[in-house]
Amino acid sequence: MAQPFLKKDDDHDDEADYSPFLGIEKGAVLQEARVFNDPQLDPRRCSQVITKLLYLLNQGETFTKVEATEVFFAVTKLFQSRDLGLRRMVYVIIKELSPSADEVIIVTSSLMKDMTSKTDMYRANAIRVLCWITDGTLLTQIERYLKQAIVDKNPVVASAALVSGIHLLQTNPEIVKRWSNEVQEAVQSRAALVQFHALALLHQIRQNDRLAVNKLVSSLTKGSVRSPLAQCLLIRYTSQVIRESASNTQTGDRPFYDFLEGCLRHKAEMVIFEAARAITELNGVTSRELTPAITVLQLFLSSTKPVLRFAAVRTLNKVAMTHPIAVTNCNIDMESLISDQNRSIATLAITTLLKTGNESSVDRLMKQITTFMSDIADEFKIVVIEAIRSLCLKFPLKHRSLMNFLSNILREEGGFEYKKAIVDSIVILIRDIPEAKESGLLHLCEFIEDCEFTYLSTQILHFLGIEGPKTSDPSKYIRYIYNRVHLENATVRAGAVSTLAKFGAMVDSLKPRIFVLLRRCLFDTDDEVRDRATLYLNTLGADGAVVETGEDVKEFLFGSLDIPLVNLERSLKNYEPSEESFDINSVPKEVKIQPLAEKKAPGKKPTGLGGPPPGPPSTIDAYEKLLSSIPEFANFGKLFKSSAPVELTEAETEYAVNVVKHILDGHVVFQYNCTNTIPEQLLENVTVIVDASEAEEFAEVASKPLRSLPYDSPGQTFVAFEKPEGVPAVGKFSNMLRFIVKEVDPSTGEAEDDGVEDEYQLEELEVVAADYMLKVGVSNFRNAWESMGPDCERVDEYGLGPRENLAEAVNAVINLLGMQPCEGTEVVPSNSRSHTCLLSGVYIGNVKVLVRLQFGIDGPKDVAMKLAVRSEDEAVSDVIHEIVASG
């Protein structure tokens, strides 16, 4: 129905790349939108203008607030027209303009009129628009209509109301939850999509009520859900129920498994696949349960539709990681997929085969892969390389053909990441398969003869220096290494010099020849290369005095630098040239433990060259350094623990302040991190006035004001308190930020000379028992517990009163004690009635503490807890009980 938007003087319409929007311009279209105000509306013309506006928005054009408001008000006039096509466009553009709350009011009455119209299309769309733009206050007014709409006999209207309900549930759950009777009725609808939307909404309304979800699933799995999409949803809900009830059914048949298996015979492919995937993802799935799912996926593998093949091979690839045997039946189909047009499918097929392959099929597979590798992108190649590496580790006897394969592809073209993946794989094979060492090293040597990546060259040279001298004939590597000294850039040359020196140190027979080579390097153009050559010639005793390489020299050459590089870097930067030379022993050695999230990263790859990356700078180190750098606090002794920052201001206030509590033996230091968020202000002489009247055992001893706090550059001020030594004193502190504020001219950035003294109230801060506890895990709790012995054990029982569930009670106790949960016992399986949680930590004074918590919950949600503490000091064991008793 739409006509091309011809301009009168436009005669481009015969040209091939003619676009009706050619030369479209926002200003002109906004002008055109004035037709919306005409007393005699031309629906067609209005539709065209709306389309142009939508086109502009779609192309990423933005309207200013004023423009959007103007368009919005003009559009509201169009509700006068009764043209259906135009009304549809009006609905769409209102949603796109996302009007503000006060604008929404303008259209509310029009939309509410449409919601009750006799025309189905009006009702459906008006509901969607109104629910999309409303902010909830309106919702109670229209709730009645929405409830009616959910059970409307027109499926489009019902779906519109249900889908809007799904969106509204995020913002106004208490209102939407009142609709469950109507939604339940809609689940029985004969219209497929209504059933789907109703089921989705009903489940979301009930998702926190496990019993209700259980009931929903068991009633629907018996009946017939007509819509394939609804059936997919039901499968997802069912697997969730299975997952959550898995713990008590290890013996018998899995509940609802029959339903999933039945879905494998559904007529819709999406349902079959959803069910097959759900079965493969069951916890601890047995091979008997897997078989029917694998069978349907196998059928999909030979489908003509790429989407089906992809879905099947992707799922089987995942299954192959845990149940390789179950997938071997599909190997023949998989092999034919290697030549699939769709390279994603081919790559998934190859890597699946590599996971399921047996020793005899390796050679054949490698032949197929060789032809395959040349025509896929690097990203796929890396995936294949990783699969080959694990295959080789599985079948070490096959290292020859796999190593050959790797060296062949290493010679071909490829980007850095790809080459690095290959080199890493070769390195890992050399490390893990002794027979592969010599051939692997030679492959690497050949590679660096023609390697464009400096990083890889130096890493390989380093690796050669360690492994080469241990081989049967180290001399054959020398040529490759020395060639680097002639042909490469300075970085690689320096690396080669170090490698040569390592050969010289380890292989005495080569020493004279190495000295000759190193002496030649003394004439290199690069400082670093010459310095290294000189250093090694001296340490290895090239003056001919010593023949045997001393242990300390070996230690120097090969010993790992047991200092984190970041720490070394920081210390070197801080070092000021003086009489005293830099002492490497002063560099702190602690590395912060990697955050758990990183450890959990799936498929943790074995690190190839270079070893693990150095950890991030340790915060406790940083804090310790910071404190010791402040003269007032320097004699406080060793830092025991620093808390995580605690916010003392609301988000988005003028001044953002958080505090870190530093616990020392006889002192507590509060570090206030302040940020000034007002560009027009400069704060000076910033201090925090702390009132410790509710913290009796603490006495303020020192404070360090912050001289100046410009806009957006955080600074710190400190307050230190003395407390009885070794005693876990607790207390409450109220804080007041005091400062001199100076106006800043935003254009010049210069502050005025005169300032005004001002104060800013901060929130209170507490020192709690958990602050005196370090989270330190133990790897084997039982061993640690046994070896601690029952000498200082204290056991008692506590009632924790009514709690929402066990998990909440467990968390509360863990947070109260501030200890490290061990062996994953902080996770409470859902639905369980009892739980044991193991905690470990170090209490102030360096006393190790282990805690065993046993929880039980009974009918009215009353939680009881048995607390057993073992520590090196019975006083500490008692303290733990006191913390719990008072907390």
Binding site: M1, A2, Q3, P4, S19, P20, F21, Q48, T51, L54, Y55, N58, Q59, G60, R82, D83, L84, G85, R87, R88, M89, V92, S117, K118, T119, M121, Y122, R128, V156, S159, A160, V163, S164, I166, H167, Q170, F196, A200, H203, Q204, L229, C232, L233, R236, Y237, Q240, E269, M270, F273, E274, R277, P306, V307, L308, F310, A311, R314, Q341, N342, S344
Partner: protein
């Protein structure tokens, strides 16, 4: 929410990767430049493949993208990495076929731009805020094509051309069924 199949975006690009109509239902791409970067990457990755008879599929930055091409039009539907591929394909097919019906068989860029209002309405009818509204092309096209005066409009407001248009719509609707 996470258990319900969700659509991240639907894209209709031309043979150079330029936008004809796009609709994003997820906050994964907060700015227009992020969206354009995604479109560019998807287009580059799929450009050389043959997705003219059957819908094709690829993994991309932890998204599953299904796509289908006709003439100089490239259709894409994106979902999260754990989404059921076949559901995404059903949405793509619904969109693709509905556009075919609405453009009356002449499915190319020129025709699509000239009927951009229909394409935009079509997108509006397929997915609402990420949730699938409808996948049946006939129903989608039927809903989009129902252009007529609403029943209560006085006859005098209808011009001859509008009356003819109404008649044509009725005809199309009966053909589409």
């Amino acid at each position: 929410m996470e258990l319900c199949p969700l659509i991240k975006n639907i894209l209709l690009l031309d043979s150079e990767g330029k936008r004809i109509a796009v609709k994003y239902y997820s906050d994964d791409w907060p700015t227009n430049s992020a969206k354009e970067a995604f479109e560019k990457a998807v287009f580059a990755k799929t450009q050389k493949t043959n997705a003219r008879t059957d819908a094709e599929i690829t993994m991309f930055d932890n998204y599953v993208v299904v796509y289908k091409f006709v003439q100089d039009l490239h259709f894409f539907v994106t979902g999260g990495e754990n989404e059921n591929e076949i559901i995404l394909a059903a949405v793509l097919q619904g969109f693709f076929d509905a556009v075919g019906l609405l453009l009356r068989g002449t499915v190319d860029k020129k025709e699509a731009l000239e009927n951009l209002d229909l394409i935009l309405l079509c997108l509006d009818e397929i997915v609402d805020g990420g949730i699938i509204l409808e996948t049946d092309a006939n129903v989608i096209a039927g809903k989009v094509a129902s252009h007529s005066m609403d029943a209560g409009a006085p006859l005098s407001e209808q011009t001859i051309t509008q009356a003819l248009a109404t008649a044509r719509e009725h005809l199309t609707r009966s053909l589409l069924k």
